[in-house]
Amino acid sequence: MKRVFLVALLWIPLLCFTYSASAETFTCLACHSAMKGKIRTEEGVLIDVNVDGEKYSQSVHGGFDCIACHKQFGSNPHEPARITNVPQGIASLASKLTHKAKVDPVALAACSECHGDIYKSWQQSIHGSNVIQKKQSDGASCVDCHGSPHYITPKNTATSHINKKNIVKTCGECHENEGLARKYGFSTHILERYYESFHGKKYVIGHPNAPTCVDCHKYHDIKKWEDPMSPVAWDNRTETCGRCHKGATKKFVTAITHKPYGKDNPVPYYFEKGMIVLLLSVFAFIVGHVILDAISEIRDKVLRKGKEGHHE
């Protein structure tokens, strides 16, 4: 009897939560919302086992049972994972994701249960094929862009990783990463150059029509720009740019390259240097002239009062 009472006590803080999750979710969260920090699994992987119940309840997936995605776990405390609970399609997908989601590949594969079309186009994208075919654990999957599925909020909310205000930063998580840039041979200058461009500047000051990465490069089925399927491949650019810039021609679409200034791009590089020299020399002249003029005026008024008298 005492034991039952204690269990009931445990439930009291949980009742304060305002979410609409099922009883099973409450059972999981009873421990997982209280667990802080990371634990090491038998395979030696450090994982974060905390789930913020309140944030979860406010996410788009907040109404789901935990086992809707974590299909291989069914009891508390956990028995060894049972792959038999898992539908065939998801199990086979999960088997391709073991290097990526070391603890629960089934949960990562489970996204496809509802988001099947998106999952398929992701598998054909450069991000997806990097994970599935090339078996890279640092390739981008659902959670790398959308954040933890526990906390995904609608696209139009400020906390969404893919909200227009956050999307460029989200891409930058990897595309500004020096290590990844070296490994995959892309340039970390891309975001910097985007921010310096008119598109990027307009984006930063909040222009509603300013394009972000995904407006030109697409997202789930993103391809390398040299891939003829990419919207920014040379042959597709007139169409892609033409969505905003009506009448865009082959000549026009070379405008955006994201190339860094310098060796590959010498004309703007030296032009900018020249401009800086021009600006600084004009500034030096006008500021110097004004200061000298002011000092001599004060000198004339204060020290040489009598001498210039005939006009005053």
Binding site: H207, A255, V267, P268, F271, I286, H289, A294
Partner: protein, 241 residues
């Protein structure tokens, strides 16, 4: 020679004053709508009011374009007006009244700076426009050409791209962006220092010279600041008055 010397002299006529008002109004609008785009990071973090006062970035862009086109039209009016005045003989090219830079202006600048430094005994004698005025005036001309043209390209990028030679299209847009924003910065700093100091902050001008409204300058100021023009208009009477 006995003609009475008036108390004031009409320096700028109504048309010139209107052109000046349109110029500085559009200049201020362009500066305040464009600054946010020059330094977007700072804009978001420190002074988003620069965007907010226009009701968002989109409106700021519209105001910027309207002001830019107005400024260019005003400039075209000014050039046509000058052509008309010169061709009908209503305005004459004379060395003491022209805005065109002459070798004397370089000498004046050197002489003036030597005076500032205490190395020269006398200030140079200026005509209708000193080298300071000429610099101010031609800086606007330069800005109109560089900023106006690059601004036009940026406002109509697709149409402009038809005219660019194909060997330039890989870098021309970066050059145009740099041109527009750096020259604009130059123009703003120039106005802040050169024009504001010389026409607003100087002892006898503060808080501003009223010439931009009335078009007139007092004879006293004219004698002191534009002695050569004074002599040309009124002879040498100044001293025995």
């Amino acid at each position: 020679m006995n003609k009475e010397t008036p108390k004031e002299y009409l320096r700028f006529n109504t048309i010139e004053r209107i052109q000046h008002v349109i110029l500085f109004t559009t200049f201020l609008l362009l500066s305040f709508t464009g600054w946010a785009l020059k330094y977007p990071e700072q804009t978001v973090e420190h002074s988003s009011w620069l965007v907010k006062i226009w009701g968002g970035a989109k409106n700021a862009g519209i105001v910027h374009r309207i002001a830019g086109i107005t400024m260019l039209l005003n400039f075209a009016w000014h050039v046509l007006y000058l052509a008309y005045m010169l061709s009908t003989g209503k305005m004459k090219l004379r060395k003491d009244t022209t805005i065109i830079p002459l070798p004397k202006d370089v000498m004046d600048a050197v002489k003036n700076i030597l005076y500032f430094l205490g190395l020269g005994k006398e200030k140079p004698q200026f005509g209708r426009f000193s080298y300071i005025h000429k610099f101010d005036y031609w800086a606007v001309f330069w800005g109109m050409g560089i900023i106006g043209l690059s601004g036009f390209f940026l406002a109509f990028p697709v149409q402009s791209s038809y005219f660019f030679p194909s060997w330039s299209v890989n870098w021309i847009w970066e050059v145009i962006s740099i041109m527009h924003s750096d020259e604009a910065l130059l123009a703003i700093v120039f106005i802040l220092f050169w024009h504001f100091y010389n026409e607003h902050l100087k002892w006898n001008k503060f808080p501003m010279s009223m010439t931009w409204i009335t078009g007139k300058i007092s004879i006293e100021d004219m004698k002191r600041e534009h002695p050569l023009e004074y002599k040309l208009e009124f002879g040498d009477k100044g001293d025995n008055k």
